[in-house]
Amino acid sequence: MNPRDVTQVLLSTGSGRVGAVFLTTLVLVSLFVLIRFPLDFGPTRWNNPASWADNPKAAAPAWTRLWQGNQAIGHRVYQSQEPSASTPLADLEQRTYTFSYDYGGGRAPTLMALSVVDVRFASRPTVLTLQVRRPDGRTLTLYQTVVRGPREGETPPYLRFQDAPLRVNLSSDGDAAARVREFYAQQMGVALTVEALQGRITHAVFGTPIEGAPGQFQPLPGAYQFTLTAVTGASSDVIGNVKLVMGGSVYGVMGTDTLGRDLALGLLFGFPVALTIGIATSVFATIIGASLGMLSGYMAGKTDLVIQRFTDIWSNVPLLPILIFLIFILGQKLWLVVVLMILFGWPGLTIVVRSMVLQLRSGQLVEATQALGASKVRIMFRHLLFQIAPFIFAQMIFFTPGAILAEASLSFLGLGDPSIPTWGQILENGFRTGAVYVGYWWWVLPPGLLIVVTAMTFVLLTLGLEPVVNPRLRENR
């Protein structure tokens, strides 16, 4: 059968069609990821806590608001390169950045963080002030800082916050807490203790005190206007980017983990990784297995015996314990997992291919060719391969999910490659940090489901290829 016929037979079965659709999807998503994601996504983004600092931690996917209703609060990010207003102020210049946040009155934001990147000044250090005007008309100053002045020997322009931004997490900042206490004392006449504000700064900012219940706040819904005021010494001074994050309790399409990582990104990156593992392993294991099987079946005698004995022993090595051991000793490298899977994966095919070749060898086709004087090797590869190719192809597909599942298992045991995020690793993180036990289902369900669907894809394809392998099925249908 040529590849066209194989495809045709495959697509004539239900499971084959479903498998083909799944496979196409997997490949398309993988291609998309390969184009859009940097290859060093693992170390530079995924495993870099700084890149997730502004995300809410362990937030459920945004669409869970469908049934969480008002209980959930969305994630808001305000960014601006240009000030909303710029006013001269004597020999100085005052720039304001205004962001309006609508608070519905449910949960207070889980996070409130201000970041400023790339500040340059020529003479006078920039002064930054963050204020919020509440729906009750009161204004609360949350933060104020003066950018560090010139160091000794430094020449203008003075560059600040170039590599690392100025970042304040107002929801847990001690200075911000003090300002909130001051605000409550002066404007509401309520004295808040330090403990009462512990971890509740946002509640205080977005609420009013409840009498008789110190440390409890009544949510105050309405529009909150955040204003960042930057007072600069010259109009040539630069403020690159201002960012205010109001952390939600839900985030993105797939939610976040306890480090605030956007799970959707990690899951996406897992697509090409899983496919590569599966396909690389199965292709090479199949090549080795089939070649040895054909060699063994065709060359009777010593070669056959040696290959047979060795295959028999090698195929019986219990895979997972050995894999665990070798990865543990030799290092947690993805390529090593693939190499080991290839190394231990070929014998099954060798045994089957050998017996098929033995059957075919007694067939007339090869005998006839032999009589015509074709060289041994050519007979072997031309005729035998032609006969068993569909079978080998089906075996290759069948072998693919095994490799994916094995990598996932290793990752789950904590032996994943730290530089390449995989579905198994995401699951392992969730399991090890106890996500299962506190009900973070969005962290453990999707990666597992993706593993299952990917494995199923190849199982379905194998089922669809049955008629190719087993001609009797083809005729009877």
Partner: protein, 352 residues
């Protein structure tokens, strides 16, 4: 004669497996310098012990140090540390076989011992309990359902079950376990999420035993769920294949009742290939046990394996790798004997 011969060949192959694994273990350990480190740790421990006991008798600190140093050198040459690692292969193999690998880094057995041997042997029964129970349940259910489906081949139920068995192949045991914990333990509060006993464990032998069983339900269920599909499918296929054999028609011609035909002419004949499949699935169920124990915090060798990895405890990892291989080889051999006992074509004379 040929019976012994057949079994001997299978036995030798399995010994070969054990040998290959051992060689892989010690070569990997030796070539990466792990074995040196392990030995130095053992020696260091011994010298430390000696120091405390000698400190009482030898008062002079210099003399004490000198004595200890001499002892250390003795030990190093005893373990062959001054020679290259490959010249120590045989003794290393021996130590792995005896699980004489010193002590675990942080893990302790229930009664406080840190010796690798104690730890591993203490956990072994729990793993055996899990694997054997799950295997028996899988086998019984698989046989029953496989035969049922074979008699209903081609029906919607049959097709559905072939898809289900494909799913069961694609679902990793540990993920299934996590789902069950999420659903049954945390949503519905039906079963415990893990561990051996409730805290505090109930008093009294029977109550404790029942509590243990209660905690074993989910792990066993998980193991059964992920291997049952393959079993059912195999049994069904083998039964269907055998049912088409000519001698089955002859049996019917002989006027034998259907039940007897099924038992003696179909199941009995299909059992050797079913056992073969069981053999092939064995490695898988062993791996499944490692992962399932991890998920359910079941203190068997599998969970120990996980803990050893997490705490980077080389000695334990080596010991457990060996133990799992040993367990596998032993179980394989039992099944091989069973296979030979079931199939007279192998029992007497050559395979045809």
């Amino acid at each position: 004669m040929s019976l012994i011969w057949t079994l001997a060949i299978r036995g030798l192959t399995l010994l070969g497996v054990l040998f290959v694994v051992l060689i892989m273990l010690v070569v990997a350990l030796g070539a990466t310098g792990f074995s040196d480190r392990m030995l130095r740790a053992i020696i260091g421990e011994e010298v430390r012990g000696l120091r405390t006991s000698l400190a009482q008798t030898i008062r002079d600190p210099d003399q004490l140090e000198a004595t200890l140093e001499a002892r250390r050198r003795d030990l190093e040459s005893f373990y062959g540390l001054e020679r290259p690692w490959y010249s120590r292969l045989p003794s290393m193999v021996l130590r792995v076989v005896k699980l004489d690998l010193g002590s675990a880094r942080t893990l302790r057995s229930f009664d406080g011992s840190s010796r690798v041997t104690d730890l591993v042997l203490e956990r072994l029964p729990y793993t055996m309990m899990l694997i054997t129970t799950a295997s028996v349940i899988t086998a019984v259910l698989g046989l029953w359902a496989g035969v049922k489906l074979a008699t209903r081949a081609g029906t919607a139920l049959d097709r559905l079950s072939s898809y289900l068995s494909a799913v069961s192949y694609a679902v990793p045991a540990w993920w299934a376990g996590i789902l069950l914990i999420l659903l049954l333990a945390f949503r519905l509060h039906l079963l415990p999420a893990g561990g051996l006993y409730s805290t505090p464990p109930p008093e009294g032998g029977l109550a404790r035993f029942l509590d243990l069983l209660w905690h074993a339900v989910l792990p066993i269920f998980t193991l059964v769920a992920v291997s049952l599909g393959a079993w059912v499918y195999t049994v069904r296929t083998m039964v269907l294949n055998t049912a088409q054999e000519f001698f089955v028609t002859v049996a019917r011609a002989k006027g034998l009742p259907e039940g007897r035909v099924m038992r003696r002419y179909i199941l009995r004949v299909a059992s050797p290939p079913i056992v073969t499949n069981l053999v092939l699935g064995l490695a898988g169920s062993l791996g499944g046990a490692i992962l399932t124990e991890t998920v359910f915090n079941w203190p068997g060798m599998g969970r120990l394996f996980y803990e050893a990895i997490i705490t980077a405890d080389e000695n334990l990892v080596v010991a457990l790798t060996f133990m799992f291989t040993l367990l596998y080889v032993a179980a394989r051999f039992v099944l091989e004997v069973l296979y030979v006992a079931l199939d007279p074509r192998i029992r007497y004379g050559s395979r045809t």
